[in-house]
Amino acid sequence: MRAIMNTVETFQISKSFKGIKVVDNVSFSIGPGEIFGMVGPNGAGKTTTIRMLMDIIKPDSGEIKILGEPINEAIKNRIGYLPEERGLYRKLTVSESLSYLAALKNMRRRLARERAEELLKRVNMLPHKDKKTDELSHGMGQLIQFVATILHNPELVVFDEPFAALDPVNTQLLKELILELRSQGKSVILSTHMMNQVEELCDRILMINKGQAVLYGSLAEIKSRYRNNSVFLECDRLPEGLPGMVGSKSHLKYIELFLDGRTSPQEVLSALISKGVTVGRFEVSTPSLNEIFIQVVKEGR
């Protein structure tokens, strides 16, 4: 056993519906204090994978351990889940909804009330706590659902498309809260197909396509793996005889230099400077996750 136990551990889980493999032999693990991105196109199997983690559906084969144990009722109290298909009781007030959902996580009434007030204050919803959720706007409802997800102070939090239909201000607020969860040592799973958010927040990712894990690892490592050995350059002139340069391509405002793979961008930059070139921009080209995603999905076809 390791010193720090993984929060989530899955081993070759599979699930079929109507004879079609929706999740196929997927293994991954998530440690405490990390934000884990689950990315993939619509229908790739993300939600099914999450539902298996939550014990809402059972895998056909494979093994899942949450907080070191196969999932059980006590474990369920230590996880928070914000599903993609989500809503609230329309006829209940915000506080009633929150206290019922907290009770279902075995949280003490008083503690739940105190923490609900605190969190509602954080998301500026405290004045609405006695309103029926019917009367709230869609975005406000989302914030309440977010509060409900983390109310019982879960050690593992799963957000399925948390930013859908949120305005930029609230999106920023939610991001801050998610980063806060990480700094408290919680494990966060973020399932989304919005790559910019994954790039911004996630430490490691699992990319699923057609039920299979196609990419798995730290974001930085994956990005460097997909680097294509080129640099973007904005300068007054392009000198001859740069080390390791195998070609170049002119874009509208900048030039893309292709390197041979043995020469580091550092050496190219120092060569440029020694030749007296005025450099406006020098950037090591790393493909965006979006580009990697599209590339991987295309390769998979």
Binding site: D55, I56, P83, L88, A103, L104
Partner: protein, 404 residues
């Protein structure tokens, strides 16, 4: 705290807070109080005077009908000729008049003249005229007692004996017909109301999309059991309120309204009523929960529920028949068919027309059906709660249940 119990408590509370539940529950006691109040008020304020004496004219061409002109509630006035009788009728001095022809003894024919539109005379008037004629015809021929008996030869009193030849405990019409039907009606309303609430609560959570959040905290089984028990408890509260109303009402009414003096509700009927209420509720709750989880919206599920609601109200169409001939084959069949069993058994229990083995068999069948539907509902519940989109075909449902 146990999560099933948390759900139970939540559903129970929400139902007790529900407006339509409160209105329905309190409607019966309010109606009872209102009814008694109106009866009391009418008794207090309305003193019927001496009944108005009706005057009926007649012409006697036989000369045999001169006496006994004053019968209870009516005075017969003899007119010498038809002109005067007609004038008196038009002047509203008399209500009507009739002519006894000279050949009356051989023909029995009497012609009646009236201004009112109903040519057919009322039973009361016919009786009064008959009494008048009889009195005159038999005067002097028979003793007054015989005359009385000729007028009313039959005062029928029926006594029902049970199988042992003893006089059965309930004899009057009110408790043998009205009580079972009202009783069964109240229980049925409550069964349908409580299981309807369950259906609503399932479809609402599905429509609201709260269901997936709930399922990450509890299992589908906990959710189903908690809901069924919570709403059942609310249903029991309703039934308790109604039973207390009925008991109090019958006690109070017995003293106030003479027509209801025989009204009594035996404790055994209440006890069995509760047993059948609980079993009936569990059966319909399981059916409603299963159906509620299949449809994406309440409306979709409603369509499905017709399948079992239609047979369930069958005993009502047959209620008069069941109560009047509780031991017939149809009554028996309805007692054993699970969907109609609770309500039919209750009606038959109230008429004392059910034997112990029939009760036992119906209970066994009910318990078996409940176990089966609950098992089925739990499976369906788990599979379909998270399914939206197209309504599944029956074949699909069966396959999913097998796979689940």
């Amino acid at each position: 705290m146990n999560k099933t119990f948390i759900i139970l408590k939540h559903e129970f509370r929400q139902t007790l807070k529900n407006k339509s539940f409160i209105i329905l529950t309190l409607a019966l006691p309010l109606l009872a109080i209102l009814g008694l109040g109106i009866y009391q008020g009418v008794q207090h304020w309305y003193h019927p005077g001496a009944p108005q004496e009706v005057r009926i004219g007649y012409l006697d061409r036989t000369g045999m009908f001169g006496s006994y002109t004053s019968q209870p509630g009516v005075l017969f006035v003899l007119y010498p000729d038809e002109e005067q009788a007609k004038d008196a009728l038009l002047a509203k001095d008399i209500k009507e008049y009739f002519v006894i022809p000279s050949d009356y003894l051989s023909s029995g024919l009497i012609t009646r003249y009236t201004t009112s539109r109903d040519v057919e005379p009322s039973k009361k008037i016919t009786g009064q005229i008959t009494d008048f004629l009889l009195s005159n015809l038999l005067a002097g021929e028979v003793s007054p007692q015989v005359m009385e008996r000729v007028k009313t030869p039959l005062l029928l009193a029926s006594v029902r004996l049970d199988e042992t030849g003893e006089i059965a405990s309930s004899q009057d019409v009110v408790s043998s017909f009205v009580v079972p039907i009202v009783f069964a009606l109240l229980f049925m309303i409550s069964i349908f109301f409580a299981s309807g609430f369950l259906f609503q609560s399932v479809t609402e959570e599905k429509e609201n999309r709260v269901i997936e959040i709930l399922l990450s905290s509890v299992s589908s089984r906990q959710l189903l059991v908690g809901k069924v028990l919570g709403l059942g408890a609310a249903g029991l509260i309703q039934v308790a309120v109604w039973l207390i109303t009925v008991i109090v009402f019958s006690q109070v009414a017995q003293g106030i309204i003479p027509a209801l003096s025989d009204l009594s509700i035996p404790a055994s009927l209440i006890g069995w009523g509760l047993v059948y209420f609980i079993l009936g509720y569990l059966l319909f709750a399981a059916l409603y929960a299963g159906v509620g989880s299949i449809g994406a919206t309440a409306r979709e599920g409603q369509g499905w529920s017709t399948i079992f609601v239609l047979p369930a109200i069958l005993p009502y169409y047959f209620s008069y028949f069941i109560v009047s001939s509780p031991e017939s084959a149809v009554s028996r069949a309805l007692t054993f068919f699970p969907l109609t069993s609770p309500i039919t058994s209750m009606m038959r229990l109230a008429t004392h027309g059910i034997s112990a083995w029939e009760i036992a068999l119906s209970l066994v069948i009910l318990a078996g059906s409940i176990a089966l539907t609950m098992w089925f509902a739990a499976k369906i519940f788990r599979v379909f709660l998270l399914m939206y989109g197209k309504r599944p075909a029956l074949r699909e449902i069966i396959r999913y249940v097998r796979e689940a």
